[in-house]
């Protein structure tokens, strides 16, 4: 009994680490686009969902290793994000539309994505006889040291992504130009930085990250076409916790939300019973509301030195 309990907590910690890694990449992407365009992207969850189905098709129809599927998923995610920016948001911004209209536009785009996802899922199901509702690809995962490959690869991917983004934004000329475009668009334009290109690239990176996460998602959990909204709640919670205006905040926010969701639901279901499992999205919601009440500018907005002095 005791041994079984330990086994369970081990699985729980493993799941939490995987989910945190995925959340870090998702919330970093959302925060990146929020920093550039100043609009929360309501289609971000479905950037991932569309690529869940892309990878399902690649794995089941072409027998591709699911990890290789992250590369086309990155490209597809990047392209759909780029289309949203260039074809919808940019023209609206040029016409001086305010952020509410931009948000509505991302929701409209999300509806188109939902429609595409479901059409694709129906098509795979009816023509190729693949289960596309409530499916998993855990069986296609590779094994590393007796553990599911995702347990090793997802954290590594998240770590590599954080490091790359850090070096990109701080050490390359291009990345510094991007930061300039984010912090002071008009001044950056005066210095000759092409702001539009910078914004477009940040949208591509954001969508690409979401796409890569989407490709890995079926290795981790049961997927369904409507999974995007559940993801979106967690992504928003993580990004708001991180402060929405700081990419490093988004990393921390994503990690905390991922851990809180999986560990919280896991331990509560062990103590209260399995009925708590469906209420999992309540956890990110509570985190989101508490953040807005206590520190609306998120972790990145808290003056930590002052805070520590007060506490210590």
């Amino acid at each position: 009994m005791h041994r079984q309990g330990r086994q369970l907590s081990l699985i729980l910690v493993r799941d939490a680490l995987i989910f945190s890694s995925l959340m870090i990449m998702l919330s970093a992407g959302l925060t990146l686009t929020y920093m550039t365009t100043k609009v929360p992207n309501f289609a971000h969850g479905d950037f991932a969902t569309l690529n869940i189905y892309l990878n399902l098709a690649l794995v089941r129809l072409l027998n591709i290793n699911p990890y290789l599927g992250t590369i086309p998923a990155f490209m597809l995610g990047g392209v759909i994000a780029l289309v949203l920016y260039l074809a919808v948001l940019k023209p609206l911004m040029d016409r001086g539309a305010n952020y509410v209209i931009l948000m509505v536009a991302t929701i409209a785009y999300d509806m188109i994505l939902i429609s595409l996802i479901n059409i694709f899922a129906d098509y795979l199901n009816r023509v190729h006889k693949i289960i596309t509702r409530l499916f998993q690809l855990k069986g296609f995962d590779i094994e590393i040291f007796g553990q599911p490959g995702l347990f090793v690869i997802a954290p590594i991917l998240a770590f590599v992504m954080i490091t790359l983004l850090y070096f990109f934004l701080n050490k390359t000329k291009f990345g510094i130009a991007m930061r300039a475009a984010i912090e002071n668009p008009s001044l950056a334009e005066v210095v000759g930085i092409n702001i539009n290109r910078m914004y477009a690239i940040s949208w591509f990176i954001s969508g690409g990250l979401a796409g890569a996460v989407g490709a890995l998602m079926p290795l981790y959990m049961t997927c369904n076409p409507d999974i995007g909204i559940r993801l979106l709640i967690s992504i928003f919670a993580a990004s708001i916790l991180g402060g929405l205006s700081n990419i490093y905040g988004a990393f921390v926010g994503g990690a905390i939300i991922g851990l809180a969701e999986v560990l919280g639901t896991g331990y509560l279901s062990m103590t209260l019973g399995p009925w708590v499992v469906p209420y999992r999205p309540v956890i990110p919601l509570i985190v989101m509301m508490l953040t807005l009440l206590i520190a609306p500018r998120g972790l990145a907005g808290v003056n930590w030195k002052k805070f520590l002095r007060k506490v210590g």
Partner: protein, 353 residues
């Protein structure tokens, strides 16, 4: 005597139109007049419906003690049919039940709106939009999973307040009731939009800073608009449940009850109630036509036609946003007093004594 088919079609259309018009007008009050991006419209609509599913039936069952010792959810069918027996022979009670339930639903919706907006209302609208969306989704999850509340995923049947109207005429009567409520709400909102409050709301939508400078309590006004909007939307949700005499969390999702009202308001024209009505009218008619011709497409497409509808609506909304952002019926400038009248007043006032 049976009603002719075109008439039943029209009644059906009017019923749906009424419900969606109520929801879109409530969104218009929040977004069109006040500029609040309520992406959790689902919250209030589902809140109203869930209230009707959970509370009034239980109260009536308690009052009439029918049948003794049975649970409203577990013995749902028996309890509801025995209540329906009572309601069938008592029009007064039925009408009281209907009206009191609507009032209760409005209060529940208002409370939900207040609670949901509390953390984010003082921040920029996008934070509010994100929290409202998340809370709406969580409310749906609770409705879908917590069985003692409204029967979980199976849903719950509720006492039918239109039972006393004989079978054939029930749809007509339901439709008239819904249209009546819609008209009442339309008139109320027209009064609001012409009142000083309506002008203040528009002022804080157009320039929050100026409104603050003139001493308007922007946060309070926003909460007010959101609470009233949620109350109205909850009435819409409650009426929808009475139409089907049942409540199920499965009937409510963010596409049907958040996205569609947004399409209606933006396509019809934000910032005027007529626009919201026109938007709802066009939307309901187009949807009916799509459902009508659906079976024709279904035969040769390898997917469900409903997804094409989503895509069309998404595209339609994007096209309107890009090429006609003011919608079909643009907002008219606020009516002011005639210049001669003001000049006259000024002349009489400054006249030396």
């Amino acid at each position: 005597m049976a009603l002719p088919i075109p008439l039943t079609f029209l009644i059906d259309l009017l019923t749906l139109f009424g419900i969606f018009a109520i929801i879109s007008m409530s969104l218009n009050l929040e977004f069109g007049y006040t500029g609040i991006p309520n992406f959790g419209k689902l919250l209030a609509v589902a809140g109203g419906a869930f209230f009707v599913g959970a509370v009034p039936g239980r109260i009536i069952a308690y009052l009439f003690n029918t049948p003794a010792g049975s649970d409203f959810i577990k013995n749902n069918l028996e309890v509801v049919s025995s209540i329906n027996q009572v309601l069938m022979n008592d029009p007064t009670l039925s009408i009281c039940y209907l009206l009191l339930s609507l009032v209760g639903a409005a209060l529940a919706g208002a409370a939900l709106g207040y609670i949901a907006s509390y953390p984010g209302i003082r921040l920029r609208g996008d934070y509010l939009a994100m929290t409202l969306l998340a809370i709406a989704e969580v409310l749906k999850i609770i409705g879908d999973n917590w069985e003692p509340f409204i029967g979980g995923s199976l849903g719950v049947r509720i006492p039918d307040p239109f039972r006393w109207v004989s079978g054939e005429y029930r749809p007509l009567y339901v439709s008239l009731t819904i249209i009546g409520v819609t008209a009442a709400i339309f008139i109320y909102l027209e009064f609001v939009s012409r009142s000083p409050l309506g002008r203040t709301l528009r002022a804080l939508r157009d320039d929050e800073l100026s409104a603050r400078v003139y001493g308007k309590d922007v946060d309070k006004l926003r909460i007010k608009a959101l609470v009233v909007g949620c109350a109205i939307a909850a009435i819409g949700g409650a009426l929808y449940s009475f139409l089907t005499a049942s409540v199920s969390a499965r009937d409510f999702n963010r596409v049907t009850h958040t996205f569609w009202p947004w399409v209606m308001v933006i396509v019809g024209g934000a910032g005027n109630n007529l626009g919201a009505l026109v938007g709802a009218g066009i939307f309901v008619t187009v949807r009916r036509l799509i459902t009508f011709y659906k079976s024709y497409f279904e035969t040769f497409l390898p997917f469900d036609v409903v997804w094409l509808e989503y895509m069309l609506l998404g595209l339609a909304l994007l096209i309107v946003l890009l090429y006609r952002p003011e919608g079909l019926i643009p907002e008219k400038p606020t009516k002011t007093l005639k210049y001669e009248y003001i000049a006259n007043k000024r002349a009489t006032r400054t006249k030396p004594k």
